[in-house]
Amino acid sequence: MKAHYACGSNSHLMARRQFLGTMAGGFVVGGLGALTNPALAGQIQKNQMRVLVVYMAGGLSQLESWDPKPKTDTGGPFRAIPTSVPGIHISELLPKTATHMDKLAIVRSINTKNNDHGKGSYQMQYGRSQMPGTEYPHLGAVCAKTLERDDNPLPGHIRVPGGSRGSDAAYLGPQYASVGMNGKPPANSERAGSLTEAADKLRNDFRRQANERFSLQRRTASTDLYTQSYEQALQLMERREVFDVTKEPEADKDRYGRFDLGQHCLMARRLLENGIPFVQVQHSNYDTHNENFNFHFEQLGEFDQAFSTLIGDLHDRGMLETTLVVVMSEFGRTPRINQYYGRDHWGTAWSVCLGGAKIQPGAVIGKTNENGTKVIDREVEHGDLFHTYLCAVGLDSGGAFDIGGRQQPMADPSHAPITELLT
């Protein structure tokens, strides 16, 4: 398959040569060169903006989290509790998170008009509705491209947990595709004991030389992916301990919780501290058609401990000002409680929580009606949220990527950021 982003233009060729050339010196050229506003790029680098997404797979219930409706016909058994922001109440399932509400914000008026897992997942992570034959980059790829530092050789788009390379960067190229991590250094990331450092360098130099020659005439998406995979593997080998959560203090492992999400959030802290611009942690599973309340009690107990600890740490370490945090799902869950004590898919009126970076702390945007069945104020869609995320880390979401001379809007031009949510 020919790479559609490799058009052969001078600017692209220069970037590619620079990329390959600096590889030999151990550095990757920044993707910021593709931004239409270089001054902005410099500002972002200086502040080292980062993004953390906690993805609540399956569809977190807004009624059991950010928009409780206690003692209504849809309210369910859980009560609402006050938070550190007077007047803002969230579910009693999030008591620790409630103490950090002064650092967070809630958007309660999302209507994505969709109840399908796949479509909703795409909407929320790519900022657009999926269309056949059209590919857009994942939020993580956009962030990796725009927020990466040229002095940091680590991959810019990490999924936790995961074990493979994603194909989610579209025209930004495979170097911005997600890399899955499981809290330990990638398998086989140590140089084989029988191979000397000098011999290893020689063989890599030879590989690069051969690649360069080959790619002058026959560059494709596949060859780029191979090249990128090799280079990224080398970078990972050099700094493999960044991915080793076992290096964190035992006390921190306890604070985050000795369960998967706890250790994954601790891993996220470690990655963000090491300058990785985009980290996505996934918590599974909230697709609670059955026993919604039991399962949310179980799942959110873990989330509350791990997430609140992470927010506290990011704040205490002075990182929250430069780290956008988003808790999202593919949709919410129905206000109606079904016969199995479950809630079903619901994209009509639901919520996300976000904070840090340029998000206004303690804000609540939008409103649903008394029993949560519809949005009654400031309806927003996934496209608006995507714009907001980018603006929150200092990007001009109305900007575009120059991909071989073709302008590719960073976010859906038919939407706009939620400006009142931004400082």
Binding site: P70, G76, P77, N290, E291, Y340
Partner: protein, 329 residues
């Protein structure tokens, strides 16, 4: 008329109109108490179906228990509290409230002489209370949510079952853990969905005190999608050994409640993706010997003190009274 399980039929449908959660007959059989997702409790005249509904807790109520004389009903709420109510009063005002647990009180039971009340909840604690609301003892040992508590009829022991499929036998006077019955199939962890599921939904001793019965679910191939089937476990009380597993093959759902009938057989109410059922088992047999399909999924059940009527609480807002006899002419 005599008990005739094979002739069980729905005798009455009493409408509340909002999804129901729990139901329980009081010991004298005069009333049935139920709870609803609309946060009200209901008292039904057991003969006429006349209803009084009132707002009680700040959340749902998942269980009821009664003092032995039937004059006080105790509701267990998902709002930390148990509340004592006068059973027969025209206007139901709380007699006593106890903040018993942090979060849901899932189960409540009263011992045979009314001197102790047991509660269990999502905070994994099991507690004993005096009738005047004083904490007598706390039993610590469950590693997951406590789903059910039941006094042994002899009064010496308390049984508590949890999400892990474990039933702890506690010595009431000392608080000592005597032994643990493990109904392993009543719990599963689904690695794909990353959820624990199942639990001891109810515990009951047979009238001759020789069998310990519990019910719940198994075959949970898709916990989040309600794909599972009811399962009973029977243990020999004396030896503590497993006596029988009783699956209800092909009946999708959860065994919510189990009781023993006067003929020694067990009755279970199940509800879930297969609809609602009354399932009848003989302790010596694995398969149910009779099933009655109910018009809507069942969520709780209570056998009337006359041993012939059984009430079920349903998602469609109906209380159904079934009679385990031949139909009246």
């Amino acid at each position: 008329m005599a008990l005739d399980v094979m002739k069980t039929h729905v005798l009455h449908e009493w409408k509340h109109g909002k999804p129901l959660i729990a139901c329980r007959f009081e010991p004298q059989g005069r009333f049935l108490f139920s709870s609803s997702e609309d946060y009200t409790l209901q008292r039904w005249n057991a003969e006429t179906g006349e209803k009084i509904a009132w707002e009680a807790h700040d959340s749902w109520v998942r269980d009821f228990a009664f003092m032995p004389d039937g004059e006080t009903v105790i509701s267990a709420g998902c709002d930390d509290r148990i509340i004592f109510w006068p059973t027969t009063a025209e206007k139901l005002e709380p007699k006593l409230e106890i903040v018993a647990h942090k979060g849901w009180v899932r189960s409540v039971d009263v011992n045979s002489d009314g001197s102790l009340i047991a509660t269990g909840g999502n905070d994994r604690a099991v507690k004993l209370w005096s009738p005047d609301g004083k904490l007598v003892r706390e039993f610590v040992g469950h590693e997951r949510d406590v789903y059910s508590v039941r006094f042994h009829p002899g009064g010496q022991f308390l049984l508590s079952g949890d999400l892990d499929g474990k039933v702890h036998q506690w010595e009431v006077n000392s608080g000592k853990l005597v032994r643990t019955f493990e109904a392993k199939d009543l719990h599963s962890y689904n690695g794909g969905q990353q959820v624990h599921y199942g639990g001891i939904r109810d515990i009951r001793l047979s009238p001759d005190k020789k069998l310990l019965a519990m019910t719940g679910l198994h075959k949970a191939t898709n916990p989040l999608g309600a794909v599972n089937e009811p399962l009973n476990y029977l243990f020999d009380w004396e030896s503590g050994s497993e006596s029988k597993k009783q699956p209800a093959e092909g009946v999708g759902g959860i065994g919510w409640r189990i009781e023993f009938l006067s003929d020694g057989s067990e009755i279970v109410a199940s509800g879930g993706n297969g609809g609602g059922f009354l399932l009848f088992f003989k302790p010596a047999e694995e398969k149910p010997y009779h099933k009655l399909k109910l018009p809507n999924t069942a969520r709780d059940m209570s056998v009337h003190p006359d041993g012939l009527r059984v009430a079920t609480a349903h998602h469609d807002g109906q209380i159904r009274i079934s009679k385990m006899t031949e139909k009246a002419a």
